[in-house]
């Protein structure tokens, strides 16, 4: 199984199995996964970037936008089958 990590702007943004990213060993994959599971909780607009040394760096993020109205079942089926749009 191929393990990889995605790095953007010096931060690890994701890990996974399959294609893409930079291939890593299963040991490094498990180490990063352990770090992700121990991420400090996000509070308000404060979030954290995971640095390549597996330490977390705090930053200010945009507040969550307001949720949109949920789709009713008929509209969803229409979307699936290419119905009324």
């Amino acid at each position: 199984m191929r393990y990889y990590k995605l790095i953007e702007n010096g931060y690890i943004v994701a890990i996974g199995t399959g294609g893409g990213g930079v291939e890593i060993t299963d040991a490094e994959y498990n180490a990063i996964l352990s770090a992700i599971h121990n991420k400090p909780p996000r509070t308000g607009t404060t979030d954290y970037h995971l640095k390549t040394d597996l330490t977390w760096e705090e930053y200010e993020r945009e507040p969550d936008p307001v949720d949109e109205t949920e789709l009713d079942p008929q509209d969803a089926l229409n979307a699936i089958f290419g119905g009324a749009e």
Binding site: A14, T17, G18, G19, D64, D67, P73
Partner: protein, 503 residues
């Protein structure tokens, strides 16, 4: 207070009047003889009261003479009664000290004293001698003397100090010589020793020094040996040596050895025909018969799939055979004897075993099957979209992709994306983020909600270009077009991409 000036009107009738100053007058009746008068400082007259005395007024009692108070116009004296003193009669005893000096002179000395008390009667006694009796004196006596000496001991008696003699030095007896032998013992030396044959005799007596005596030297003879009877494997030998009389040193002399040839001990020839170890004792030679090496052969036994039994054998004649190698005829086995039957393969695969078969038939149904690829994705941030790559190289975009939350547990956060499914069928596709209270499962172009209720917007694709915006032959885009929906950090999403069959 100052005493006022006292004046006495000596003659009041005179003109002028005569006054006498009596202020300094200190006379009293105690400072004047009895019967005399004087004028005091106050002008009044007084009479003295000091009595006149003489020797007759003196009195004696024991050794004390008393003179009463008064005025003595001349010297006075009074005699006391006379006394006496008698020297006591006594004796004194003293033990003399006696010493003898280095010349034999004896000195006796005595010294001592004793206090005595005289008998005295009351009265005046004139001075005399103190009451002490002393005694002293000495005398000497010279002894007959003898000077110190050292006596040399002899076998006769000697007088060291005569009776009544005082020795003025040490009288010593000299040491006996360490080599002294009494007159009753015979002194011996080497000349007293005698030799007879191998015996040396030492007579009794005192040997002040080591004594020795040589015995006559002898001559060692050269040893010889004489060979006696010779029979198979043994020979009798008689050794001998002749020495002259006398002392012989411990050296070794080698004489003439007895020579015995091998032919005297063994004889005959041993004939050997059997292999193994053969006893050739008593034989002068051995003869081994030559054998002939046979050619090895092998016999083929039972033949079954992949194995065959072979029995090798070789036949040699009796006798000695050299170590050279002879190769025989090998056993030949055909492939047909080891494998049989036909292996039938109807499915694609690798590493399929055809063991035991002599032929293979392959019959895989035509047309390509479904291709699929799977993977996982775990974001570190809440994220609305992410491009995910395929591992293999494909010529077309996938027919459908399903993405779901593989962690299984839906967090109670209804405002964020929990499950996202992308399903594309040519020109038809949807992407449905879901809330925490609902989950989705599905495949292909059909998507079902857990409670049959969609909770957010979806999107359909009505053209190839719009589908290609989300799919390519090398990746797909996990995407939420609904504001506020996110793939959650720390959750693992699993995806499966499927390609349509090629026929």
């Amino acid at each position: 207070m100052a005493i006022a000036k006292v004046q006495y009107k000596e003659n009041a009738s005179a003109t002028p009047e005569v006054w006498m100053d009596t202020t300094q007058k200190t006379v009293t009746s105690g400072t004047m003889l009895s019967g005399t008068t004087a004028l005091q400082n106050d002008g009044t007259g007084i009479t003295g009261n000091i009595a006149s005395k003489s020797s007759s007024d003196l009195t004696a009692s024991g050794a004390t003479v008393t003179a009463p108070a008064g005025y003595y116009a001349s010297s006075a004296s009074k005699s006391v009664a006379s006394g006496s003193a008698t020297t006591p009669s006594t004796s004194i005893t003293a033990n003399p000290t006696i010493s003898v000096d280095s010349t034999g002179l004896i000195t006796a000395s005595v010294s001592g004293s004793k206090s005595v008390t005289p008998t005295v009667s009351a009265g005046y006694v004139t001075s005399g001698t103190a009451g002490t009796i002393g005694v002293s004196g000495s005398n000497t006596e010279q002894l007959s003397t003898q000077a110190g000496t050292t006596i040399t001991p002899t076998e006769s008696e000697q007088t060291a100090v005569a009776s009544g003699k005082y020795t003025t030095g040490s009288v010593k007896v000299g040491a006996i010589s360490s080599t002294y032998v009494g007159s009753g013992i015979t002194q011996r030396d080497s000349t007293d020793l005698t030799a007879s044959g191998g015996t040396v005799t030492a007579p009794a007596g005192y040997y002040a020094e080591a004594a020795s005596k040589s015995v006559a030297s002898g001559t060692a003879g050269t040893p010889t040996a004489t060979k006696g009877t010779v029979s198979s494997n043994s020979v009798t030998v008689t050794p001998s040596v002749t020495n002259t009389t006398g002392y012989i040193t411990g050296g070794t002399l080698t004489g003439t050895a007895v020579t015995v040839s091998a032919s005297e001990l063994v004889s005959g020839t041993k004939s050997i025909t059997a292999s193994g170890t053969t006893d050739v004792t008593n034989y002068a030679s051995a003869s081994v018969a030559a054998g002939t090496a046979g050619t090895p052969t092998a016999t083929k036994g039972t033949v079954s799939n992949h194995s065959i039994s072979v029995t090798p054998s070789v036949t040699n004649t009796t006798g000695y055979i050299t170590g050279s190698t002879i190769s025989g005829t090998a056993v030949t086995v055909d492939v047909a004897e080891l494998e049989s039957g036909t292996k039938s393969i109807t499915e694609n695969g690798t590493g399929i075993s055809v063991s035991g078969y002599s032929a293979v038939d392959v019959s895989v149904s035509g047309g390509g099957g479904l291709e699929y690829e799977e993977g996982t994705w775990t974001p570190t941030q809440d994220i609305a979209q992410q491009s995910i790559s395929f591992t293999d190289t494909h010529t077309t975009r996938p027919w459908s992709v399903v993405l779901w939350d593989a962690d299984g547990t839906i967090a109670p956060d209804s405002s964020n994306l929990q499950i996202s499914i992308i399903s594309v069928s040519d020109y038809l596709g949807i992407q449905i983020p879901y809330s925490s209270t609902k989950s989705i499962y599905g495949f292909g172009s059909y998507v079902f909600a857990y409670n049959n209720s969609y909770s957010t917007a979806s999107q359909s694709f009505t053209s190839a270009s719009s589908v290609n915006n989300y799919m390519s032959s090398s990746s797909f885009k996990a995407y939420s077009n609904s504001t506020g929906r996110y793939f959650r950090s720390g959750r693992t999403y699993k995806w499966v991409a499927v390609w349509k069959p090629t026929t």
